[in-house]
Amino acid sequence: MPASLIDADSLLAVDVGSMTTHATLFDVVEGHYRFIAAGQAPSTAAAPFKDVSEGVHQAIENLQTITGRKLIGDDHRLIMPVQEGNGVDSFTATLSAGPAIKTAVVGLLSDVSVESAQRLARTCYTRVMDTLSLNDQRKADEQIDSLLRLRPELIIIAGGTDQGASRSVERLLETVGLACYLMPADKHPAVLFAGNKSVVEKVKSNLQNLVSYLSISPNLRPTLEIEDLQPAQRGMAEMYTQLRRSQMGGVDELNTWAGGTLIPTAYAEGRMIRFLSQVYDPSKGILGVDLGISAATVAAAFGGELTLGVYPQLGLGEGLASLLRYTSLDDILKWIALDIPAERLRDYLYQKSLYPNTLPATAEDLAMEQALARQNLHVALNSLAKDFPRRVQRPAAGLLPYFEPIMAGGSVITRAPTLGQSLLILLDAIQPIGITTLILDQNNLMPALGAAANRNPILPIQVLESGAFLGLATVIGPIANTRPGTPILQVRLIHQNGNETRVEVKQGALEMLPLPAGEAGRLYLQPLHHTDLGFGPGHTRPEGIPVTGTVLGIIIDARGRPIRLPADPARCREFNKKWLWTVGG
């Protein structure tokens, strides 16, 4: 008997984003979990509501309208468990709405524990405003005044190896404690300690009464050589939930509905990517990207080891006003096929930061929005790539590791006017190498599945296998050290019906071979000039590679890694136009 029949539970999952609240229903159909339907509504975390409940109720009501199944009772409460065909058996919730949490990071050495603590901060929706360490040139009282001025909502304290010296950590604890003591009681920060375990009792006795919430996590750096963020990531997620419960109306109720399991959306997405990495080919990683209003989220997992990065400064909302600290107008403009002056793009960034929820109605606005999506995702991914485990194999320095598959979410990608545009955004931003599959999460299922995975690991697997995600394309990203125009790859695709398609791919080209969803075939790849397809330079699989169809078929992206666009803006636009035309406009 399949496990899904044993745990024949329906699940309602709510995800509260900055712009949209999604309510997604899963249920058992013919013995397997299936995605049933999703309802959505504008989020109401911001004024005038300042309470997520209205958006949650509206999203669920929309879902009720779609499914005809009553989920909320006349008493405005969730019907749980199922009663006479109405309601659901279980409920999960994820949250990303709200401004990034103002965070201070405290550690001993800036290139050891401080770096680890910063990486931990990046696993959630935070903005690091100050860093205290032994390398800090400021005196303790200046550090205290800095904390008092910045009023962080969260302080992450790391430092010291287990069994290592504790005096330096205690000194930093004293500084933090004094700053907390001097803050008004209603402004006390939450504190997450993930340092030397021998000072845990000291942390408790010094800080317990001076902070709004204290969480102790296992040491991020139990030894100098080992960094282990994963246990502390759970602590971070709990901390985020605690903070939001006290800051944002309706979050407490949502957490109650979820039985106290409300988690940050990015954490749920990361959990799902890690989970998948234990299921898929262990020789490659799994990559998940999600570009929203509140942040760009990138999650990569290699054999169960997750690297997660949340970049509020690279979201497509309020953060855009400060985007030029992280990238340049020229680097965004290079992805646009239209002739748009730099000042127009700059004005666009600032205007969009005022109205993050608006949509591009003109071709010019869409081109700018999609160029931003490419560049922000590219910057986020390159930033996270520095934190990938050292053991992960890369084809060359500066290039990404091999991933299979790559999952993408965020409406700018998944709801682009054409699937070709979705594809090109991802190809340009990620520049995948080797052979991989691009999958679109058009229904925003990843947070729901990640939240559910902890309690019911069968559900995400069965939903993934059910076709609820859209297989966008199989991508071949060769690496070749040749001049543009040189043939680098001969491709032969044998369809199930015996038909054969052949193409010779030249360096610099972008080619598409149709292989519709539902069909299958076998790919024979003959690399030329030591081209590397992920099997080593000049190597291939002589027996061929089985491929299954996707909506856009097989894409051979031989534009080079990294893609180098011409310096001349007019030629750059020509390239972008040509590529857009290739993928169907």
């Binding site: 008004p184 004005d347 005022l354």
Partner: protein
Amino acid sequence: MLAPVTHLLPLTTVQRERLLPVPGQVFAHLDQKISPLDVIAEAHLGGQHLLLDVARQLRVPPEKADRLIKCKAGDQVVKNQVIAQSRDLIPQTIRAVQDGKVLLVGGGKVLLEVGETTFELHAGVPGVVTRVVQDRGIEITFSGSLVQGVWGNGQVDSGMILPLLNSPEEVLAAKRLDVSQRGAVILAGACSDPATLQTASELPVRGLILGSLSPALLAQAAQMHFPIVVIDGFDGRPLNTTAFKLLTSNAKREVTVNAEIADRYSGIRPEIYIPLPVAGEPPRLREVETFAPNQPVHLIRAPHAGAVGILVNLKPGLTTMPSGLRVQAAEVKLDTGEQVVVPLANLEVLG
């Protein structure tokens, strides 16, 4: 569908809470008539801190240092006052480097607070105190015209409003400003020249209300000591015609420019208040709207960015835009008479 709302109202009643960031003393009282620059409350935000490591400086263990410290928590100290002294043959002395207050003593250390920052809370809104929040602030009720903006530089002031534009799209040049406008609140279209802000600062003016401001001037505008409110945005768009009509029709009236820094989550926005004589209480603000026909709306994104009109009807299902996106949309009759289809996400209700 829920609609975002921007208030551009000729006559309304507004209630605004003005609260201290930390508990303090509230001076205003119930039913008091308030001017925008009145200090209605103040709070002690503390000064700088000095952590004196007595044990380290005197080279003794912390327990011993505690016995050498000659002050206790709560004491006021003056510059050069002895904080601690060793019992050596030639005693070493640690003195206060400036006047201050002892906050904590222990572990061989002394924490001093020196200097003091008093935060004064200005009313920011003209009106009457209708509620006092103990130790935190007040609620002010205002009646008159209200115009909300999208960006403010954190300053507040009042003055006579002087329109320096004949049409909403006029760009304000530095040469339009002269000494006759000193002390006035200037209303203008777009501003893209740093010399304009510099000249306005030198006059000085009491405020600047702009349709749009070039992003290149944001850092300069944030430093100005007079309030600047941007009504429509940063992309050179003209002042929207509803705000243009409302503000120019009040030319030479006293206005308050409260250029609060906007915050989407708290709902704080920069606002312009024009007190008007009223009989009874004008209608209160409606903060929550759902899109419906006959609503006045503001188009906030291309291709008609900044235009205003009336929502004619909500289109069923999804509509394909020129960008190719399929979205929920509405037909809007612009004030130019043209009828256009706009994504609902790109509309805000004026009310």
